[in-house]
Amino acid sequence: MLRYIVKRLLWMIPVVIGVLCIVFVLSVVTPGDPVTTLVGADASAEAKEAMREKLGLNDPVYVRFANYVIKIVTKGDLGNSYTSNQPVKTEILDRFPVTLKLTIASVIVALLLSVPLGIISAVKRYSWIDNLSMALSLIGVSIPQFWFALLTLLLFAVNLRWLPASGISSVKGWVLPVLMIGVGNMGNFARTTRASMLEVIQQDYIRTARAKGQKEATVIIKHGLRNALIPIVANVGNVVGISLGGAVIAENIFSVAGVGKYMLDAINSRDWPAVQGGIILLAIAFSIIMLIMDLLYAAIDPRLKSEFRARGRKKAGRKLQVA
């Protein structure tokens, strides 16, 4: 298991370099001159040239890339924001906890609301509650998040005045953003849980559990649920990724000062270091979350755990042979 964790951590190095590479390529192909943004369109040619030299824009591409990577890897320096002239890293790290909390809260709320619904749907298949929850789930996966946000904003903030229209300073403020980010996931989770549960219920080991004289509810919870959750846990990592994207939009609709709003503001003001920094940090955060999810996955499926163990042993054996 430790071997696996170490391996996964080491694998993050090429991932990060790959992400840097992608982001750098994107910044190279970007039309428009950042210098113009910085010093203003009507600045003198000398001023522009000086700025260009200062930013290292006159160097060949590969030198710029190398400098860029070295700066980030050795100093964690993502450059300064063009607009605020503050280090991008601190600006983003200040905003990052909000985004992360929003994302994770929405994934957890979605799981808590929809997994039980999926189980009930599977157990009471074709009942009215199954039909209703599947209809809602279908709408959940089909509704555009931002439109859902605007509709709930109209209903709960403008018409009913129950919830604030922006900000997450109060607990009430969290409700709409969390629901908006989670709406698609809820539909998704409920549908996956139902399908997975339906398949599990037909398995022989469920029949074995029934043959023991176990209560139906216990059969479902103890023997069914854990098996049915495997595909869902396997997918939670991806869902977190999707939710990070959703958080970017949610922060803009609900004016939440997170990384997503920071990035979109940066895009609008052509503040490339800020945009790049945001993407790099979110990608790294996403990779770490994926790692945690994979470990969790291994923990609930014993078959995988021993596979890791067996793989480690096989490798060790091969090394002995070589020696």
């Binding site: 090429p14 994107l26 709408i139 089909s142 998040q145 904003l153 945009v275």
Partner: protein, 303 residues
């Protein structure tokens, strides 16, 4: 106890006799189509999609006005008999723009998905058939691409390339390509490991023949299903990105971009909010219904 010959049994016998008379032609595709046809929801989805396509084709005849007919004297009028969905902040007829919107969202989503599947498909096929090191290298590259959440990746690409349909299509296709190639690779690998491919090999089928005659038709099922769902996702992404101003920009009547000003109008003109979103949802819903039906029809084991 002697068994009684019940009317029900007689009916079954008759049905059997009738079936025997027919020449039973059945291929997996035909069987799936039969199952799909019986699925009312899937057919409903298909019908909605066909209607949307028809609206797109005949938009000029349906829409009372053009897409950018700004009449400032009739700004922000609520729905009336004259403008059944009202007018927007530039005095444009929302209904006309909704109708023309069918020419944008669905086709753009479709194109994004086609490109993602084509690119992903080529890489996946190489990975799946070459196997070993090639497979490993390609899939690790996909891992790296996938370590950026897809919407974020699309935003990054669109932000650096600038607005416009072509850039948006590029952004969405590239950002979803790794996930799509994974689906295709998995489908090919599943089929590849099946016994009938072994038997095809055993009877000496060439590898091209193996690919065309045995693998492709069998791998098509899951790929087709994934394709349908991916178009749905792509449409949602197109509209989200246009909404935040990183995709298709006005005056093109993309439904998402039509909503970009509606947050400011929530208090004064909430009716501008309803119809564009509803259209996106209906389109995506239809695709999801059809995709569900397709999945159940192609894999009757699950249901």
């Amino acid at each position: 106890m002697a068994k009684l010959y019940t009317p029900a049994m007689a009916a079954i016998d008759k049905k059997k006799a009738r079936l025997k008379g027919k020449v039973q032609k059945s291929s997996p595709g035909r069987e799936a189509w039969k199952r799909l046809r019986r699925n009312k929801l899937a057919i409903a989805g298909l019908v909605i999609l066909i209607i949307l396509v028809l609206i797109a084709v005949f938009a000029p005849f349906i829409a009372p006005e053009g897409i950018d007919n700004q009449v400032l004297t009739r700004r922000l009028q609520p729905p009336s008999s004259e403008h059944i969905m009202g007018t927007d902040e530039f005095g444009r007829d929302i209904f006309s723009r909704i109708i023309y919107g069918t020419q944008i969202s669905f086709p753009v989503g479709l194109i994004c998905t086609v490109i993602a599947f084509a690119l992903g498909g080529v890489l996946a096929s190489i990975a799946a058939f070459k196997g070993g090191r090639v497979d490993n290298v390609i899939m690790r590259f996909m891992d790296i691409f996938q370590s950026i959440p897809p919407l974020l990746f699309a935003i990054a690409i669109a932000a650096s390339l600038g607005n416009g349909i072509v850039n948006l299509v590029l952004a969405i296709s590239l950002s979803t390509m790794p996930a799509r190639s994974r689906v295709i690779r998995a489908a090919i690998l599943t089929v590849k490991s099946n016994d009938y491919i072994e038997s095809a090999r055993a009877i000496g089928a060439s590898s091209t023949r193996q690919l065309l005659k045995y693998m492709l038709p069998n791998a098509m099922g899951p790929i087709l299903t994934a394709f349908t769902f991916s178009v749905a996702t792509a449409i949602l992404t197109v509209s989200s990105m246009s909404y935040i101003g990183l995709g298709i920009t006005p005056p093109t009547p993309e439904w998402g971009s039509m909503l970009s000003s509606s947050k400011a109008l929530l208090r004064t003109a909430p009716y501008t909010l309803y119809f564009p979103g509803l259209m996106i949802m209906i389109t995506v819903l239809a695709l999801n219904l059809f995709g569900d039906g397709l999945r159940d029809a192609l894999d009757p084991r699950l249901k």
